[in-house]
C-alpha cells in the first residue's frame, strides 16, 4: 500500500534538513503574529493577577470556564502524539516513519500549553507549589496526596518528562546528522553537545531500536492514566453531570479522537510549509483517517453511554443537567454543533476513499473535529456548574469574556510557535527512520502485480 520514498541519502538529508538550515520569510511573519498573540495573553494574565479572577468574568457558581475547558482540550490533543507514535512503533507499522516525530512534538507543546491553564486558573500561580510539591515549606502543612490537585500534576509531570525523554532518545541520530551537516561552527558545536557523540555504531542503532519499543510500551500506560486522572478531576466530585464512572474511558477516547485529528492537520500543514511533499503522502493520511473512523465511533459510543447513565437513574439533578445541555438554549446549539462537527460530518466523509486521500478534505474535516471536541469539553464543564442547587443563593450567568477568548487564541499560538521553533531548530521528521525505510523498502512481483514490500528483522 505504501509508496516507497525513492531518494538517496544525500537528497534525503538535504530535504529533511532544509527547513532547519534555511530562513524562509514567512517564518518571521508567522512567528511575529504568534508572538503578538502571546504578548496579548501575557497582558491579560497580568491584569488578572492584579484584579483577580473576576477580571476574566468568573462569578458564582461557574468558576471553571474557558481556562479549564482549554486545559482539558490541550491535554486531549497531547494524547494523540504519543498514542500514534507508540502504537505504530510497537506494531512496526511501515507508514509510521514520517508521522512519529511530528506527533511526539505536538504532544510536548500541547502539554506545555495545557499546564499553563490550571496555573492561570489558580489566580495565584506561585501558590500552586504549596499544593503540589512534596515539601511542607516551613508551614507544617504538606500537600494532600489524596486530592486530584496532586494527582493531576504528578500525572502530567510524568507524561511530560517521559515524552521529552522519548523524543530526545529518538532524536539522538538526527542531532548527529544535524551536527555533521551544520553550516557553521557554533551550530555544529551545539548539535554536537546535544548528540552526545552519537556515531551510529551497530550497537547504538540496536539500542535505539529496542529503546523505541521499550519506551513506547512504558509510555502507553502513562498516556492512558493522564487523561483518566484529568477526567477524575470531574468524576470524583459530586457535581451532577460529572460524577460518572464512564468518564475516564470517555475522556481518553475523546482525547485520542481530537489528538489524531490534530496530527493529521499538522502533517498536512507540514507537507506544504516545510516542503515535505515527498515524505508525507496520501497513504499516510488515508491510514490515519481509517484509524479515526474507529476512534470517532468508539468516542460516540462513550458519549451515548454518558448520556444513557445520566438519564437512566432518573436522578432529578442529573436529568436537569442533561436537559440543560441538550434542550435549553444556548446549550442545545452548542450540543448540535459539536456532534455535527465531531462526528456527523467527518466520519461519513472518511468512509469515502477520495476524501481520505484528499489533503484538502482531510484538513477541513480534522479541523472540524477539533472545533467539535473543544465545544464538547465546554459542554461537559460549564452547564453542570450552572445548575442551581440547594443552599446556594447567589447566581451569575457565565458568559466567556474577551480576555478568555484571547487566552484561548494564545494557547493555539503557543502550540504552533513551539512546533515551528522545534522544526526550525531540529529535524521534524526522523531522518534515520526514513532512510531506514528506504533501505528496507523493495518491490516484489506477485502474479502480474508489482507490490511494495518491506524487509524487517
Amino acid at each position: 500500500m505504501q509508496e516507497p520514498v525513492v531518494s538517496d541519502t544525500r537528497t534525503a538529508n538535504r530535504e529533511l534538513l532544509d527547513f532547519v538550515f534555511s530562513w524562509p520569510k514567512w517564518f518571521f511573519a508567522v512567528g511575529g503574529a504568534l508572538n503578538g498573540l502571546l504578548v496579548a495573553a501575557v497582558a491579560v494574565v497580568i491584569l488578572m493577577l492584579m484584579f483577580g479572577l473576576q477580571f476574566l468574568g468568573y462569578s458564582h457558581p461557574v468558576y471553571w470556564g474557558f481556562l479549564i475547558v482549554n486545559f482539558v482540550f490541550w491535554i486531549g490533543v497531547s494524547h494523540a502524539g504519543i498514542m500514534v507514535s507508540a502504537i505504530l512503533r510497537l506494531t512496526q507499522a511501515e507508514w509510521r516513519r514520517p508521522v512519529t516525530r511530528a506527533a511526539e512534538v505536538l504532544t510536548i507543546f500541547s502539554l506545555l500549553t495545557a499546564v499553563q491553564f490550571p496555573l492561570i486558573h489558580s489566580g495565584r500561580p506561585w501558590r500552586t507549589m504549596y499544593w503540589t510539591f512534596p515539601y511542607d515549606w516551613n508551614r507544617g502543612a504538606w500537600p494532600n496526596p489524596r486530592s486530584p490537585l496532586v494527582w493531576d500534576p504528578s500525572a502530567i509531570f510524568t507524561y511530560l518528562t517521559s515524552t521529552i525523554l522519548f523524543v530526545y532518545v529518538a532524536l539522538l541520530p538526527d542531532l548527529a546528522l544535524a551536527r555533521d551537516r551544520a553550516p557553521n561552527r557554533i551550530s555544529r558545536a551545539i548539535y554536537g553537545v546535544l548528540a552526545l557523540g552519537f556515531r551510529g555504531t551497530t550497537r547504538q542503532w540496536r539500542i535505539q531500536a529496542i529503546a523505541g519499543l521499550l519506551l513506547s510500551a512504558i509510555i502507553l500506560p502513562i498516556f492512558v492514566s493522564v487523561h483518566s486522572i484529568v477526567s477524575w478531576d470531574f468524576a470524583v466530585t459530586t457535581v451532577p453531570g460529572w460524577h460518572n464512572t464512564v468518564f475516564a474511558p470517555y475522556f481518553v477516547i475523546g482525547a485520542v479522537h481530537s489528538g489524531v485529528s490534530a496530527v493529521v492537520t499538522v502533517m498536512i500543514v507540514m507537507r506544504y510549509a516545510f516542503g515535505l511533499k515527498r515524505f508525507i503522502k496520501r497513504d499516510h493520511i488515508d491510514s490515519l483517517a481509517r484509524l479515526l473512523i474507529v476512534v470517532a465511533t468508539v468516542w460516540l459510543f462513550f458519549f451515548m453511554l454518558d448520556l444513557f447513565f445520566g438519564l437512566y437513574g432518573t436522578e432529578p439533578a442529573e436529568v436537569d443537567t442533561w436537559q440543560r445541555r441538550l434542550v435549553e438554549p444556548p446549550w442545545v446549539v452548542i450540543a448540535i454543533t459539536f456532534i455535527i462537527c465531531a462526528y456527523v460530518i467527518p466520519v461519513p466523509m472518511w468512509l469515502f476513499r477520495g476524501v481520505r486521500r484528499s489533503f484538502f478534505w482531510m484538513f477541513v474535516t480534522t479541523i472540524l473535529v477539533n472545533v467539535g471536541m473543544w465545544l464538547e469539553r465546554y459542554m461537559v464543564v460549564v452547564p453542570a456548574l450552572e445548575r442551581k442547587s440547594g443552599l446556594t443563593f447567589t447566581y451569575g450567568d457565565y458568559a466567556p469574556s474577551l480576555s478568555e477568548f484571547i487566552l484561548v487564541a494564545a494557547s493555539f499560538a503557543l502550540v504552533i510557535l513551539g512546533f515551528l521553533t522545534f522544526a526550525k531548530l531540529l529535524p521534524i521528521m526522523p531522518a534515520a527512520d526514513i532512510k531506514e525505510g528506504q533501505i528496507l523498502a523493495d518491490r516484489i512481483k506477485v502474479g502480474r502485480a508489482n507490490v511494495p514490500a518491506a524487509m524487517r528483522e
Binding site: 541519502t9 518528562t161 551497530t202 529496542i210 512504558i218 531506514e436
Partner: protein, 183 residues
C-alpha cells in the same frame, strides 16, 4: 609483553557500499582481530548481521524494572510521608489511604521506569562518546569500519581494510590514503 600493553590506536575506513563494509569486517576477522575491536558506523540503521557482525549483547531490559522499583519506593515514601506528617482524618478513613494515592504510586513507578530506561540507553549505547574516530561523510550514506588495534598490529589492520577498497582510510592524524597522482 610490551606489545600486549601498548595503547590501542584506531583506524577508520569509509566504504560506499554495505557489501564492501561487510567484506572489510570479514577480512579483519580473518586477520585475527577480535569482534569487540571492530565497529561499523552508519547514518542509517541496517538490519542486525548485515555486516556479518554478531548479536549485540545488552542489559537494557533490566533498567525499566530497576527504575520501576525505585519509582515505586520514592512514590510510596512521598505519599506515606506526606500523610503521616500532616495526618488529616477524613470520614473515619485511615490516615494512609492507599486507594486515594494509588495514582501517584502508579505515576511514580512509570516515571522511574522511563528515567532508568533512558539512563540505560545512554549506558548501553556507550554515550556520551567524544573519543571515537568519525567522519562527516558517514552522514552522507558512507559506511565506516573502525578498528582498535595495538601499534604492532596496525599494518595488518590497514591491509585488511584496504583490501576491501575503501573510499578513504583515516587515523587520528588524518587520511592514510594517497591522493591520486601523489608521489
Amino acid at each position: 609483553m610490551a606489545k600486549h600493553t601498548a595503547p590501542k590506536r584506531e583506524l577508520l575506513a569509509l566504504y560506499a557500499e554495505p557489501d564492501q563494509a561487510a567484506d572489510a569486517v570479514a577480512r579483519l576477522r580473518e586477520a585475527g582481530f577480535d569482534d569487540t575491536d571492530v565497529e561499523i558506523l552508519s547514518s542509517t540503521p541496517y538490519p542486525e548481521g548485515a555486516f556479518g557482525e554478531g548479536h549485540t549483547k545488552h542489559r537494557l531490559f533490566a533498567f525499566p524494572f530497576a527504575g520501576a522499583a525505585c519509582g515505586l519506593a520514592v512514590g510510596t515514601a512521598w505519599v506515606v510521608g506526606a500523610q503521616v506528617s500532616l495526618p488529616i482524618i477524613t470520614g473515619g478513613k485511615p490516615v494512609v489511604a492507599v486507594p486515594a494515592v494509588i495514582q501517584i504510586l502508579y505515576e511514580g513507578t512509570l516515571l522511574g521506569a522511563v528515567l532508568f530506561t533512558v539512563l540505560g540507553v545512554l549506558f548501553e549505547s556507550r554515550l556520551p562518546d567524544g573519543v571515537g574516530l568519525y567522519d562527516d561523510r558517514i552522514a552522507e550514506g558512507y559506511i565506516g569500519v573502525s578498528i582498535m588495534a595495538r601499534e604492532h598490529r596496525l599494518p595488518d589492520a590497514q591491509i585488511a581494510l584496504e583490501e576491501a577498497e575503501p573510499l578513504d582510510l583515516l587515523s587520528k592524524e588524518g587520511s592514510l590514503m594517497q591522493a591520486p597522482g601523489a608521489a
